[in-house]
């Protein structure tokens, strides 16, 4: 049950591949798990009007965002047969090519993790008040809009 308690999802800066690797390793003791699924959101170096995005600076209405992440977690545990779930989102600057969102779901069986992961990521994009400012190489910026 401890995995279901509310906790802060936000991490300052990019989510490192070491952190992701360690998260996977920690689950080796949970031997009822038969399937993991992972989503990694990566900052894209979009080219807009001949200018390249070099980083995204994330801010959030943190109190509401953490409450929404909690609701999404609860809904996912309700809907799918999950053993555990971890969500991490960056705040602050994340450079192009770095990871800004890490969603990790585990279950005894594969079907639940395929469905749960898509549900969770789509819910995050739609319901969590996080704002991305795309920084270009000349230090100008524009505000990111999710499709």
């Amino acid at each position: 049950m401890s995995d279901k308690k509310p906790k802060s999802v936000f991490k300052q800066g990019a989510i490192s591949s070491e952190f992701i690797g360690e998260s996977i390793a920690k689950h080796q003791t949970k031997t009822s798990i038969g399937a993991h699924n992972i989503f990694l959101g990566q900052v894209r170096a979009d080219v807009i009007d001949n200018k390249t995005v070099v980083a995204i600076e994330y801010t959030a209405y943190e109190e509401m965002a953490n409450a929404k992440f909690h609701e999404i977690r609860e809904a996912a545990f309700e809907k799918f047969e999950l053993t555990c779930m971890h969500i991490y989102h960056s705040l602050g600057t994340v450079k192009a090519g770095e990871i800004c969102l890490f969603v990790f779901v585990s279950s005894p069986h594969r079907k639940a993790v395929f469905e749960a992961l898509e549900f969770i990521v789509e819910e995050i994009k739609a319901k969590v008040p996080v704002f991305g400012k795309e920084i270009f190489e000349d230090n100008s910026h524009q505000w990111k809009v999710n499709n």
Partner: protein
Amino acid sequence: MKVKIKYFGMLSEVTNCEEETIDFSESHISELLEKLCIKYPNLRNKDFQVAQNQELVSFDTELSSNELVLLPPFSGG
């Protein structure tokens, strides 16, 4: 009463601040927004939602908190 208004993302560039306190005596959020749009005319052209008590509410809701949060389109992930 005094209402604290918070602005996130691009909205804080329109208002040039992340939060401020405003005197407000009417009852509906729409009336408060009208007041803000007079103060910041560029706010009228912006797409935003409002939250009170950490929940999104419609503009015709009564103000039930002394804090109102203006949120531009979400772009997490």
